[in-house]
């Protein structure tokens, strides 16, 4: 039989059609994950709240048909290996489940834009990381599934200790739980041991006062030689400086959840902000300016600062088995924030973890099962050990984490974290995202001129209040 050969023109036409079809196909929405076959248990399509309990959190979803869980994960360098370990282990135990992890690099900038774009595109993930103050907007818009019934069904009570305000506020909204905590988050004062030893100053203890802190920072500062040493590596932004603000006993808003009024301009807040966002750089000169620090210079990691307000995620940057092997470690320990005006010594404290966006009931169920595995004792130990972060259960913190961080990172005073978390207050939860408050108002109007030494807190904080009030009024108006 004679074979008809394509002319060059016909070939190009066909190729053009093919490319066009491929382009169009690429533009189409991805095919949703295949629906699972009929589950073994009755009433498979019930709303999650009414779904029947499975035997254990780590168990696979009721149906054994193949199912894919898309997990949008917070992608800090320390987190990525944990997601890999956890998803691998879970898939080994649940062969019908595929966990597709998408880790977002530079998550502070990129995570929520990616999540919101996915939601807007009609392809939300089945499981998503969330910070304790960010998920509320999503819940208010009906995009997240409450997890109360799953919690009681699967008896996942470890991460939800009663009586810790920061935990409650960052996991529950309007009576319903949404956040599945993977870690208790709080921040304390880190100090490098060497500068203290060299200056003959005793290490600080948890009962130190603000005056002692300032005195030590001044004594440790020595910037006239070739090797500069600053007493404090100030954080230079509002979020971190909340750690100082809470110590006054006052807050920047009338309510920390759904605020109606901005009130930075209170004498106590003005005083502390003037000190930590202006004086430490410009008059006391105990902290390197942002210009000094650009390009990673003059930090506690480089051995040029003695103290820094940080969280457990920072351990690996100072001292770890790998750093010790390379002889690049900075020996350090931690201490509670110094006593300031509030005798209860509040710290910042919140939970971070996961939430289940709305999807098909069986996918929601599968996403919950994986989340419950990660938040359960075994999973959270893996998460905590891999990332250095604080586990989600105070009992685990005492029995597992505190000894472990001593061994891995040389932290002797790990209990300071637990103590700080118990006294924890969450940052603001508002319809105006915290990032918007910062970028649009607090940074350019308040912190930038203060850090540059061009304005005092008493001059800029009334302006911050005024501009924030406009944002709040607009948002509260809807």
């Amino acid at each position: 039989m004679a074979i008809k050969r394509l002319s060059r023109k016909q070939f190009l036409m066909l190729a053009g059609s093919g490319v066009t079809a491929a382009a169009l196909a690429a533009c189409a929405q991805p095919t949703p994950a295949p629906a699972p076959a009929a589950p073994a248990k009755a009433e498979p399509t019930k709303a999650p709240a009414a779904a029947e309990p499975t035997k254990a959190p780590a168990a696979a979803p009721a149906a054994k048909a193949p199912i894919t869980v898309d997990f949008l994960a917070w992608g800090d360098n320390t987190d990525i290996p944990a997601w890999e370990k956890l998803s691998k282990l879970y898939m080994e135990r649940n062969p019908n489940v595929t966990i597709k992890v998408t880790s977002i690099a530079d998550p502070g900038n990129n995570f929520y834009p990616k999540l919101q774009t996915m939601i807007a595109g009609g392809t939300p993930p089945h499981l998503s990381s969330f910070q304790g103050w960010e998920w509320q907007t999503y819940a208010d818009k009906g995009l997240l599934v409450p997890v109360d019934d799953w919690i009681s069904r699967d008896k996942l009570t470890g991460p939800y200790s009663e009586g810790i305000a920061g935990l409650d506020v960052s996991t529950r909204r309007k009576g319903k739980r949404y956040l599945i905590p993977l870690q208790m988050a709080t921040m304390v004062m880190f100090y490098a041991k060497k500068p203290f030893q060299e200056a003959g100053i005793p290490f600080p203890t948890d009962d130190w006062t603000f005056e002692q802190f300032l005195d030590i920072a001044k004594k440790l500062t020595k910037t006239d030689g070739p090797n500069k040493m600053f007493g404090l590596q100030a954080n230079g932004n509002w979020f971190r400086d909340i750690g100082w603000i809470v110590g006054t006993g006052k807050r920047e808003f009338d309510n920390i959840v759904d605020p109606k009024k901005a009130q930075f301009n209170q004498p106590e807040i003005v005083e502390i902000v003037q000190l930590v966002a202006n004086d430490v750089y410009n008059t006391l000169k105990i902290a390197p300016t942002p210009a000094d620090q650009s390009g990673g210079a003059n930090t506690i990691q480089t051995g040029n600062c003695a103290m820094k307000y940080e969280g457990a995620w920072f351990f690996t940057q100072l001292n770890s088995p790998q750093l010790r092997e390379q002889k690049k470690e900075v020996e350090f320990d931690v201490v509670l924030m110094p006593k300031y005006k509030d005798p209860n010594r509040p710290h910042r404290g919140w939970s971070e973890g996961l939430a289940v966006p709305k999807s098909k009931p069986d996918t929601q169920e599968a996403a919950w099962a994986f989340a419950a595995f990660m938040a359960g004792e075994e999973g959270d130990k893996i998460y905590s050990e891999t990332t250095g972060r604080i586990p989600n259960d105070p009992k685990l913190v005492e029995s597992f984490w505190i000894p472990r961080i001593k061994e891995l990172y040389g932290v002797s005073n790990g209990k300071a974290f637990l103590e700080a978390f118990k006294r924890g207050q969450i940052d603001v939860v508002s319809a105006v995202p915290r990032s918007k408050m910062w970028s649009e108002v607090v940074k350019p109007v308040g912190w930038d001129p203060m850090i540059a030494g061009k304005a005092k807190a008493s001059e800029v904080l009334p302006k911050v209040d005024e501009a924030l009030q406009k944002l709040l009024d607009e948002a509260n108006k809807g």
């Binding site: 053009g16 774009t117 999503y138 210079a297 970028s439």
Partner: protein, 304 residues
């Protein structure tokens, strides 16, 4: 008029012609589909969005002209326009001057001329992100090479990216690194000026300066014009260096228009407002370009 004549005027194209048209469109289809899907549709959609309020989470809500009214009164938007205009006004003329001067130098008979040409073009092919990181180091207060060099002539170190008064000049200075493309276009143009014009001018006693002023520059005006239009458009669209090096700071001194649009859209999730701002920028750029074309009649010489 006869019926036949009318029919012949409105006669459908032949089958052969139609097949040729179809083939032509089919060949162009990948581009047409790409253009419609990735350029035309997003542009039209953003027009629609600019009349809506949309946070990506709830459905868009029609708000009429609210975004445009807000835009006019928004000090942040106006500041970003000012910053971009400032950058453009200073950066573009100096870029043109430097690139033209370099092109003149590199059309002379020099040893290693091609190496110099390649060297000056090289920054263009370096990713902007990498450039931004390198320039952060250059501007570093304590260890930066710029402050080091200034120190040789007794100028104290400056906080380039952290001083409201110096941040924009620092970005303008950085932009001079990226003049390779303009330089190459100028070099090509200089090579096309007929040698006979210079010879005639020399015979008439014209010196180097007169030849430059009366021959080279007039003959190059179309390319100067082209480079200027492109440079102005690019300057108004500056984004990556500002995002990486300062994120708009200090005190919004480097909050350029596109950075503000990005922040409104992807940081504050005001997609409707960001769309309105994007269209404002579009109108400004188109307006500038039309004005330049209009003014070009007065100074650009097109050889007949």
């Amino acid at each position: 008029m006869s019926v036949n004549a009318t029919l012949s005027k409105t006669r459908l194209p032949s089958r052969l012609k139609l097949r040729e048209w179809a083939a032509g469109y089919l060949f162009a289809a990948p581009f047409i589909v790409g253009f419609l899907a990735f350029t035309a549709f997003p542009m039209l959609y953003s027009i629609w969005l600019s009349f809506n309020k949309w946070d990506l989470l709830s459905p868009p809500r029609f708000v009429g002209l609210q975004n445009f009214v807000k835009m006019i009164a928004d000090p942040r938007a106006n500041l970003s326009l000012y910053n971009s205009a400032y950058y453009t006004v200073f950066a573009v003329p100096i870029q043109l001057l430097i690139s033209f001067s370099l092109a003149l130098a590199l059309t002379q008979k020099l040893r290693f001329r091609d190496v110099y040409r390649a060297g000056f073009y090289l920054p263009i092919i370096v990713p902007l992100v990498a450039s931004a990181v390198v320039w952060q180091r250059v501007f570093h207060y304590e260890y930066g090479i710029l402050n080091e060099v200034l120190g040789w002539v007794g100028i104290p170190p400056q906080k380039w990216l952290f001083d409201v008064n110096l941040a924009k000049p620092a970005f303008i200075f950085m932009s001079f690194w990226m003049i390779g493309r303009q330089m190459v276009i100028f070099i090509a143009g200089l090579g096309n000026i007929p040698q006979s014009l210079y010879e005639a001018a020399s015979i008439d006693g014209a010196g180097a300066f007169r030849r430059m002023w009366h021959i080279t520059i007039p003959m190059m005006t179309p390319l100067i014009f082209y480079n200027m239009v492109i440079a102005i458009i690019n300057s108004f669209q500056t984004f990556i260096p500002a995002k990486i090096m300062t994120d708009g700071g200090p005190e919004n001194a480097t909050l350029f228009v596109v950075l503000n649009i990005w922040q409104q859209g992807f940081q504050f999730f005001n997609m409707g407002y960001a769309s309105a701002l994007a269209w404002e920028l579009f109108v400004i750029i188109v307006g500038f370009t039309i004005a330049q074309f209009y003014l070009s009649n007065k100074w650009v010489y097109y050889e007949a």
